[in-house]
């Protein structure tokens, strides 16, 4: 495969990747359908921000956020059916059930574990140990600035954690499991080894105070942008959006079977972080996964980091000593 030169890297030599925005697919159909799938993302995002900015305190609570999140996911599942990006990513019963298993693990068991050893719990313990208070640097800032900071601080840490996972083998082992997915659907972001899901959730936001409404606004930003990372819906995403935010297109390149392409687009929300550090590749890919698209069972997803890690250790220990003559 010929590949395309992006910076000093050849992208798409091992698997098909569309580089640049000129050749990516567009929404097909009548003018109403094209209008809806062109403006859907910004309208929803600004709608969510407006709602959380002005909602009375009695409504601006976590339970409302959960209800909106679930309803929005159901709507997007319908959109996957109405306007899929690729037929090969079509959601099946098995994929839906598997994805939901990971979503439910995140809401139950992992949440319990996180409450003891998650970054927020550790930071709380750390601050309590030294009798320190959280830093209230940001609470006097405008709400939207606070919301941006909450998301940006987390995303910035996540960018480096994610990048670290792709370049350092011990971190790659738990993250590799997530890269075995061969299609994008709305809940695919939850698929991964629990160790990785824990690592990718590490943040330093617990050191800072924010107004509760700013936290809800940050949640709206994450929902209104981050949810499109793993989705099988074709949108005509606006140019300004894809310059600032991560998109399905960006993330599909990250999940490509092409090795060089997979080492790009690490951020979760703000693709401009990748642009700053030179790891952004614009474009899209359909053929995703590892090992030629082999599907990994849940059992293997749970054990892979440990079994592969053990195999690697054994290989290294059994490696014959090199015949270097003694001096």
């Amino acid at each position: 495969m010929q590949g395309t030169l992006v910076g000093n890297r050849m992208i798409g030599t091992e698997a098909p990747v569309t580089v640049g925005w000129d050749n990516i697919g567009r929404v097909e159909g009548g003018p109403i359908k094209r209008f809806i799938f062109t403006h859907f993302q910004p309208v929803v995002l600004f709608g969510l921000i407006g709602f959380w900015y002005y909602a009375p305190n009695s409504i601006a609570v976590a339970s409302t956020a959960i209800a909106i999140g679930i309803s929005f996911r159901i709507l997007l599942l319908l959109l996957e059916w109405v306007n899929p990006r690729y037929e090969s990513w079509q959601l099946t019963w098995k994929e839906f059930a598997t994805d939901l298993f990971y979503v439910s693990l995140g809401y139950t068991l992992l949440r319990m574990v996180d409450s003891y050893i998650g970054s927020d719990a550790l930071i709380e313990g750390f601050l309590a140990q030294f009798n320190w208070d959280t830093l209230s640097w940001f609470t006097s800032l405008p709400l939207l600035v606070q919301a941006f900071l909450i998301v940006f601080i987390f995303d910035f840490v996540q960018y480096w954690m994610h990048r670290g996972m792709h370049v350092w083998y011990p971190l790659w082992l738990p993250h590799a499991v997530h890269h075995y997915i061969t299609q994008f659907n709305i809940n695919k972001g939850a698929v991964g080894n629990p160790v990785e899901l824990f690592l990718i959730g590490i943040g330093i936001g617990g050191f800072f105070d924010f107004l509760p409404r700013a936290v809800l606004l940050a949640g709206a930003l994450r929902l209104g942008v981050g949810i499109y990372m793993h989705i099988n819906v074709r949108f005509n995403t606006p140019r300004w959006w894809r310059y600032i935010f991560n998109t399905t297109e960006h993330h599909s390149i990250h999940h490509s079977q092409d090795f060089e392409a997979s080492r790009s687009n690490y951020s979760g929300i703000f693709i401009f972080i990748d642009r700053i550090f030179g790891t952004c590749v614009d474009g899209e890919a359909e053929v995703l996964g590892l090992e030629g698209g082999r599907r990994m069972s849940i059992r293997e997803q749970m054990s892979y980091p440990f079994t592969e890690g053990w195999k690697t250790i054994k290989r290294r220990l059994n490696r014959p000593a090199s015949n270097v003559p003694a001096e």
Partner: protein, 230 residues
């Protein structure tokens, strides 16, 4: 007890009349593309085809099945294709509600160990008082809105001078519900969801596979929308 009484949980069985003029050889030939997928091995002997799948792709239209047997038998008046397919995914989904019920019990036990709020030494009133104290501390760090937000009309933060006290009282009820550190509610909800998903999957996949076999065996009946994906 017959094994068959319970293995319907993960087995999908069915039959299709092959009609006149379709021999077993032709039938298996038409079905052959369904078994030419990555991770699929199959073996045919006389009137029977046995297949196995390992690490089957998500894009494989039979990915839900891990193995099975198809056989052509004499029927009245025409030969009949019978199939018996097994699916670990169905079995896992059947068991999933039990796993989440276990998580729910675990969360109740853990809450009891943690703070006594769920059946431990302390009464629920004591726990509620502690929760309120913690919230009071949190309230102390809350600030007023930035002038820009005031100008734009955002509601003032809870606990600020401008906040309507009545709203505070309304929320107290909701907050009390969350005083248990690890609520089992989510696990119960997911147990229910997986029960529904299993029932849907058991019927849906049974219908889908029959439809796919029919599409392969009688493409003329589906001439308008040929299935090219299997």
């Amino acid at each position: 007890m017959s094994w068959r009484l319970i293995n319907w949980i993960w087995h999908i069985r069915g039959s299709l009349s092959l009609g006149p003029g379709l021999s077993s050889d032709e039938a298996f030939e038409r079905l052959d593309p369904m078994f030419q997928q990555d991770g699929t091995t199959h073996k045919r002997a006389d009137e029977t085809l046995v297949f196995h799948k390992k690490d089957q792709a998500a894009q494989d239209k039979m990915s839900i099945f891990d193995g099975g047997v198809l056989s052509v038998e004499d029927g009245d008046p025409h030969p009949v294709l019978r199939y018996d397919l097994k699916s670990r995914a169905l079995l896992a989904c059947f068991i999933a509600p039990l796993i989440f019920l276990a998580f729910a019990q675990f969360s109740i036990i853990l809450s009891g160990f943690d703070n006594g709020c769920a059946g431990g030494d302390r009464t629920s009133e004591q726990c509620a008082e502690e929760t309120e104290e913690e919230e009071d501390v949190e309230d102390e760090v809350q600030k007023e809105l930035h002038p820009i937000d005031k100008f734009l009309g955002a509601p003032p933060p809870k606990g600020s001078d401008e906040e309507d006290e009545a709203e505070d009282e309304e929320e107290e009820g909701e907050e009390e519900e969350e005083k248990m550190k690890h609520s089992p509610t989510r696990a119960y909800i997911f147990a229910g969801i997986f029960s529904v998903i299993y029932i849907v999957g058991r019927f849906l996949e049974s219908w889908l596979i029959k439809r796919r076999f029919r599409k392969r065996l009688f493409p003329e009946d589906f001439a308008q929308a040929p299935d090219q994906t299997v």
